[in-house]
Amino acid sequence: MIEVKNLVRTFKSGDRTIKPVNDVSFELEQGALASIVGKSGSGKSTLLSLLGALDKPTSGDVVVNGVSLATMPDGKLTNYRRRDIGFVFQQFNLIPNLSAVDNVMLPMEFAGVRKGVRAERARQLLEQVQLDPYKHVRRINRLSGGEQQRVAIARALANEPKLILADEPTGNLDEQTGEHIIELLSTLSRDHNTTILVVTHDRALANKTDRRFRLQQGRLTEEPVRTRATAAVTG
C-alpha cells in the first residue's frame, strides 16, 4: 500500500520556479499495476524519483505501508531503495564496465546475498527478460539498447522489491519483446503481489494496466481503463 499525499516538487531555474509535481495525491493498493502517461516534460520522471526516494519532495509525503518517507533518515532511505524499490530508469543507468550478470548482482551484493545465490538468481532473471545466455557475461557497453533495457529490468527485480517504478520500460524494445516485458510485469503484480507503476507512452502497455494516471503540468488525474478482467471478456 502506497499513499501519496499532496506531493510538491519545485525547481528554481533562473528566477522562474517550475513545479513538475504540483500537489499530487493518490493511493495504490499492494499488487496494483498502474501507469502514468503524459507529455514529455510533464513531470513523470520527477514524480517517480520522489516515490523511489531518489529525491526529496518540497512538501507533502509518501507513505509506504504506514511508514512516512518524509521523516525517514538517509540511512533508512538507502535501505528502502535497496529492499523495497526496483527502479527501471529511462536511460537504463547500468554500470558500463560490468557484465550483465554483474549489474544484476549488484543490488543483491548491497543486500548481503551470498555470492553463489546471487549469481544463480541473476542468471534466472536474465533468462526471464530473455537475454541470450551467451550475452550474460558481456559488458554492458557491448549490448544493444534493447538488451540493456532488459538487463535494467532484471536488475530492478533482483531483490524482489514490493514496488517497481519503471520509466518507459518498453521504450527501446521491439514490439514482441515489449509484449513479453508487459507480460512479465503483469505476472509479477498478479502472482507476486508486487505493486508496479510504469511511466509509458506505449498505448498497449497503458491499456494493460489496472489503473491509469495522466500527469499534466504537474497535476495528476486518474483516467478510466478497461480492467484486465473486462479486457479478458471483451478481448
Partner: protein, 478 residues
Amino acid sequence: MSVLARSVGNAFRNKVRTAAVVAVLAVAIGLALAMLVANQAVTGKVAELNASVGTVLTVNPAGGQGFEGGGEPLTSAQAATAAAVPNVSSVVGTKALRLRNAAEIAAEAAAGQTGRTGQGGPGGQSATSVTTSLTAAVDAGTLGNRNQATSGTAGSTSGTTGSTTAAAPAFSLPITATGIDAEMDSTGKALQLTQGTGLGNYTAASTGALLGTTLATKNGLSVGSTFTIQDQTFTVQGLFDSGTAFGNNALYVTLPTAQTLAALPDELSTMIVTVNSMENVDAAKTALQAALGADKADVTQGQRNLETAVSSLDSVKNISFIAFVAALGTAGLIILLIMVMLVRERRREIGVLKAIGAPNRTIGLQFVLEALVLVALGSVVGAAVASLASGGIASALISSSSTTSAATAQRGGPGGFPGGPGGPLGGASQLLTSVTASASPGVIAAGIAAVFGVAIIGALVPALLTARIRPIEVLRGE
C-alpha cells in the same frame, strides 16, 4: 563481483590514463623511497660516527704532545675528576708500554743508544719501555728509523757523537702495549675481536692479553698461547683487528697490569673521554680542561675533522628527509587530485549505485580501494626505480657535501695526533664514501607503508565527497 574486484576493474577502466597516473605516482614514490633509503643510510652512518670517534676526547699529560715531552703524568685521581665533568659518559684510562725484545735492545746497545728512558717517545706519548719475548710485526720504515734515531739522540745526549758515525741499523718498531680499563683501543673505539674473548674485568690485574692479528701471526701465537713481558708470562685471550698494520702491531692488557709492569701504579699515559653527544663535545672539552688544569693536562679532540664530516652528513640527512616528506606529500596530492577528478567524472554512476541501494561506506570504500590499486602499482614501479636510483642519489648527495669535508680532513695533515697507530686521520672522506645506500627490505617496506598511509588520507577526502552525492544525480541529463 566484490567491492575489491570492482575497484580493480575501475582502476583499469581507462588504461592510458591509468598508465600515466601510475607513471607519475611511481616517480613520486620512487623518489620518496630513494630519499628514505639515503636518509636511513646517512642516519646510520652519523650514529656510527657519533657513537665511536666523533664524541671522543683525548687527555694527555700537559706538554706531552708533539715532540717536547715532559710534564707531570696523569693519575687515577684525575680520571675520577674527568668522570665527574658534566656530559662525560665514560673515562677510559690507558697506560702505554713500549715493548722491545732482547735482540733489539742488544742492537740498540751496539748502536750506543742505551741511555734511552723511553719517555718522550715518538709522538711524545709517555710510554715506558719494557722487555718482551715478542717480535714486532712491522718494520720501522723511513719515518720509524728517523724517529728511533732522533729519539735515541734526544734520550742520551752523551751518545750523540758516538752514534752519528755509525750506520743506522734497520730497526723494527717497538710493540705498543696498552693497559686499558675498558674494551677499547687507544682511540676510543671498541676493540674488534676476531678470535677469543675479552679480558673480562679490565680494572683488575690479569695475565691475559689481547694481540693484534699481525703481531700474533708474526710470533706464531694464537688464543691460549703464552709469551712474556718483563719475564712475566701472559696468555693470549683474544685477537683483535684494528684495520691497520700499525694498529695490529699492538697488544692490550688490563690497566692495573700495565701499571704494575711499568712499576708506576696509579699513573696513566692518556685518558680516553667519551662525551654523551656530539653537541656537547665542545662544552665538555672546555669543562674538562678547566677541571684538570691547563698546566696538568692537555685535552684534545682527536677526531676534529670528523665533526665536519658529521655535520655535512647531518645536512644530507636533513635534505633527504625533507625530500622524502615532500615526495610523499606529492604522491598523496596526486592521489587526491586524481580521485577528486574520478569522483566528479563518475557522479552519475555514484548516483546509480545509491539509487539501487548502495550504502555510502561501500561506495567510499570502493574509491579508496581503487586509489590503493593505483598506489600499489605506483609503489611496485617506484620501488624498482628507487632500488636502482637510491645508490646513485645517495652518493650524489654525499659526494657533493664530502668534497668540503675531505679538504678539511687534509688540513688535519701530518702534524699529527699523538700515538694513534695509523689512526683514522684523514679517513673522513673514506668514511663518507663508505655510506652505502643499500635498499634494505625493511626500509622499503616502511617507506611503502608510509606511502599507503598518505594515499589513504589522500583518497579519503574524495571518498567522503561521494557521500554527498545524492541519488537523484542518476537522472542528470535525462
